[in-house]
Amino acid sequence: MVKTFARGGVHPHDNKKWSRHVSVQNAGIPNTVVIPMSQHMGKPADLLVQADDVLTEGMLIGKAAGFFSVNVHSSVAGKVREITEIYLANGMKSQAVVVEVEEGFDPEASSMFLAKENWRTMSDEDIVNRIADMGVAGLGGATFPTHIKYAIKDRNVEYLVVNGVECEPFLTADHRLMLEKSDCIIEGIEISRKVLNADNVIIGIEANKPDAIQSLRDSIIRKNLDFEVVALKTRYPQGDEKQLLKATINREVPSGALPLDIGAVVSNVGTLYAIYEAVVLKKPVIERIVTVSGSILKNPGNFKVRLGTSIRELVDACGGFTEEPVKMIAGGPMMGFSIFDLNAPVTKGVSGILALSERDLKPAGETACISCGRCIHACPMGLSPTTLFKLIDHQDYEKAKQENLLDCKECGCCGFTCPARLPLVQMLRLGKLMLRKKA
């Protein structure tokens, strides 16, 4: 039987056909990149440069502001034009460095990052420090600082669970990475396993990616490792770590606890690839794979993108639109953010850029809740979104908290199924915000 998580979840049309067979291409080097200091969960990095400074590729330009923060590096060689404040693709403001790229800058021709570090002789501490130095954050989208996740002190890690699920519709960046860089991902897993001293390694991949499953299995056999690759039944939100752990090791992370509390650490394949690059090649996180997709793009695809490249450049790299998009999204369509400015830069957490038409959005009028119960049925966290919606609508935030509002992780399953088209996720987010404000 193919494994999956126990309850809730939805089956959106996966829409991966647009880009699943398109190999990762270089997006090209833009004339200007805009590198924000806030590309991760936690405090923005402290700016280290000023206007007119000359930057080299991979140079540290933002230093982690304390433990819960991440280093930021220059993704290009060039000169700082200005320091400014911009809106990120997720709508937040951030300080950013605008860099004019050096003429003729060609990362392929440069001799940077050709190191071959023998990490097997490094101490665990040195490896974690290297990961922190190179600015690695969770590239699945949450951008949690990896050096914090891997600082497990003396706790026992029974399972390192590798997240190759990529359950968001449209996105194929991880899929392509697993096909094209399986050996590097496996090496990233080996590094992580050593640091975490994990007893077992399980790699979870949804069954709609049989080629990726095969590719990783082949690498594991080549390297003669004992990692297990598990095919999971395709179902959203299986890529959430709580659902993934339920599906792979059949343990529930208790409310308010961390995977580590049930003896597990979850890492995304993109992050593991970045760990490989950071530790082995000493290459900081200055690029990532981005799926640029949608039925209204001329040539959807997967691109290796220098961080700081604008969304507009990526649309151009796809040959532009076949019709004007109604909505554009940074990230996946279930949890991503709608974009209002195509000048926003690609950052560490941007796994996809989607251009959607009216046909994709299937709009309909909002009505009152008809108590169909579909949101409850769809909620993977066992909540009652309709009850929470009404409580928050009546500003009864405390009661909503008692009804487990804080367990909501905004996966969007409720909103996806709601026939009344109520803004359930938005309302629950508001409720959480009000509770935070009160606290």
């Binding site: 309850r7 308010g256 606890a257 507009r312 109604v326 991503g336 959005l361 009028g365 009505t367």
Partner: protein, 328 residues
């Protein structure tokens, strides 16, 4: 910096939707009732069509007037008023004077639905409330039956519904097949079990209704009928006529189209099953031991009252509500 792209839609995630909508649900249910209604018209003649039209018309007009008076957004296109009106007419005898279904529809929409705030906020099924209102107000008219105008029923039939006649008397003149296809007397929309079940099957396929309520309702009711149904006529336990009680009367219409009304049924699967069993029990008690030959309408309405209570005790259990934390 360059100008951003204008006029992009900015809304919160999720950005995709499965495609369902309230109005699509209402119109689909309405469409699934049309064959059974058409059979009613075919079976009882054009007066039935007239009853259907005035019921729907009165419901829609009431909806329009009330939303107008309350300065609310027009809500006729969501289909719920049409559906309520249609269900009111389905629960009327074919020869009823037109003012009764009209008043029943006005009561259903005006009192039951809108005094509580309109769509989604009524705690009782409006159409059933309309029927019960008519039943208690004009009991005579509501229990006067006209004969089918076609088929075997026209010859064999004396006037009473199969349930009023009782199984043995009915089966001495007509067959289960007549019950199944609807060659019998009864309310306009309830007679053709066949066409109602076909409509319900489509609702299952479209996932507009789920198995919990119809199955638990029908199964609990039929189980009780099988065990105790025969005792009334003196033939002892475990002799109740399940097939007769499933096909005769309003059970199919009630279990598949009215007890499943989303607004007035519980939210969770567990709650739906409890509610369905409650409907089955009450329908059984009223039909077998009560003063009415029917029982479906009152059974469902009484269970509607318990829905908030059922919801309170069948809340979903949240994820991560595990007692033991391993490996701490």
């Amino acid at each position: 910096m360059m100008e951003g792209k204008k006029n992009l839609l900015m809304t919160s995630s999720p950005h995709l939707h499965e495609g369902s909508s309230t109005s699509r649900i209402m119109w689909t249910v309405t469409a699934c009732l049309v064959p059974a209604g058409a059979w009613g018209v075919y079976n009882f003649g054009l007066t039935s069509l007239w009853i259907i039209l005035v019921s729907v018309g009165a419901a829609v007009l009431t909806e329009w007037v009330i939303t107008k008076l309350l300065k609310k957004e027009q809500s006729i296109s969501d289909g719920s008023a049409v559906l309520t009106g249609l269900l009111v007419s389905f629960n009327m005898p074919p020869s009823i004077p037109a003012f009764i279904p009209i008043l029943a529809s006005v009561f259903a929409i005006g009192i039951v639905k809108h005094t509580f705030g309109g769509l989604g906020r009524n705690w009782m099924n409006p159409a059933l409330a309309g029927r019960v209102f008519a039943m208690f107000s004009w009991t005579g008219e509501m229990t006067t039956w006209s004969a089918p105008v076609i088929g075997a029923g026209a010859d064999a039939f004396t006037g009473a519904t199969p349930l009023a006649q009782g199984a043995s008397e009915f089966l001495s003149k007509q067959s289960y097949w007549d019950l199944f296809i609807g060659n019998i007397s009864g309310c306009i929309g309830e007679v053709s079990a066949l066409l109602l079940l076909l409509g319900a099957a489509y609702l299952f396929i479209r996932k507009i209704i789920t198995w919990q309520i119809p199955l638990s309702y029908a199964a609990s009711f039929l189980l009780l009928v099988w065990i105790f149904g025969g005792t009334v006529s003196g033939s002892g336990y475990f002799t109740g006529d399940i097939l007769f009680h499933f096909l005769a009367g309003g059970l199919v219409l009630g279990a598949f189209f009215m007890a499943t009304d989303m607004v007035t049924s519980p939210l969770t699967s567990k709650g739906m099953i409890i509610y369905g069993i409650g409907c089955g029990l009450l329908t059984f008690l009223i039909r077998i031991y009560g003063g009415f030959p029917e029982g479906v309408s009152l059974g469902i309405i009484l269970m509607n009252i318990f829905v908030p209570l059922i919801d309170r005790f069948t809340k979903p259990v949240k994820f991560g509500n595990v007692k033991e934390v391993k490996n701490v």
